[in-house]
Subunit: 127 residues, 2 copies
DNA sequence: CTGGTAAATAGGAATATTACTATTTAAAAC
DNA sequence: GTTTTAAATAGTAATATTCCTATTTACCAG
């Protein structure tokens, strides 16, 4: 597909995220990946997480304490809400104005490529 | 105010951003700041940029190639649109659904604290 | 003005992330 | 199956960002 190769490194990163059942940091993915491919470099992990996110297979979630990654299980478009204290993450099936983005970009002569959106809050446990 | 101190480091970071008239990276700010305060550490730059952004005096703009910072000259709420090729940044006076965010957060028992939004596109020069 | 105190700093160390390059490899073409 | 080639990798180096701790300092109260 699209000139991308299916490499063992790539496959196993997806597997690891799938098995994990939770969000992992790049470091955690690297540690687990090493058990199967001892020579894998951290650069490969980052490179693939970028690529996988670009094609929609994974999500990159930027928390205050760092980035975490998850396998995209829910393929429908959604965003994230997270607690600024405990960093609990919730997927919200909500995108404020998907229709309007292209129009906004168009006002400045831009062709829309993507958008980022996230909500930060304080969860019920942390109040 | 609010227990924050007005330190020379802090003041000069704001001055530098004000004089620059453009967005700067943390490294650039550090280099310029050193000319006035030779012993200043890069950590101080980051720490203050975080704080200044938290209180609204500066904006943190995350581009694909890294983060840049700008002084908040336009105090009205707005977001950014940038070109994925040349990384030109445009301020857009548009926030898709400010009203709805609290309600969305509320659905999950969260008290809204903040939100992030940005548009990525391809500008007229890069098409 | 002087002392007390929380906030901020410098400096060094630890992490996180990206860049570079020679080599390897998946996949397509033959 | 073999060749070809662009994509991907490992390894290393460079940057970017954050953390830790002892020391300093802005600012408040007396």
């Amino acid at each position: 597909m699209k000139g991308y190769k299916i490499t063992p490194q790539r496959q196993k990163i997806v597997e690891i995220l799938g098995r994990a059942g939770c969000r992992l940091t790049a470091r955690e993915i690297h540690q687990r990946l090493r058990k199967e491919l001892p020579a894998v470099s951290i650069d490969t992990v980052y490179r693939n997480l970028h690529l996988l996110s670009a094609v929609g297979l994974t999500h990159h979630i930027q928390l205050a304490s760092g980035a975490v990654y998850e396998l995209t299980t829910d393929l429908s478009h959604h965003h994230h809400l997270y607690c600024v204290d405990c960093e609990k993450v919730v997927c919200i099936k909500y995108c404020p104005d998907l229709q309007g983005y292209s129009e906004q970009a168009g006002r400045y002569g831009f062709e829309l490529v993507g958008h980022t959106f996230a909500l930060q809050g304080r969860c019920s446990d942390c109040r």
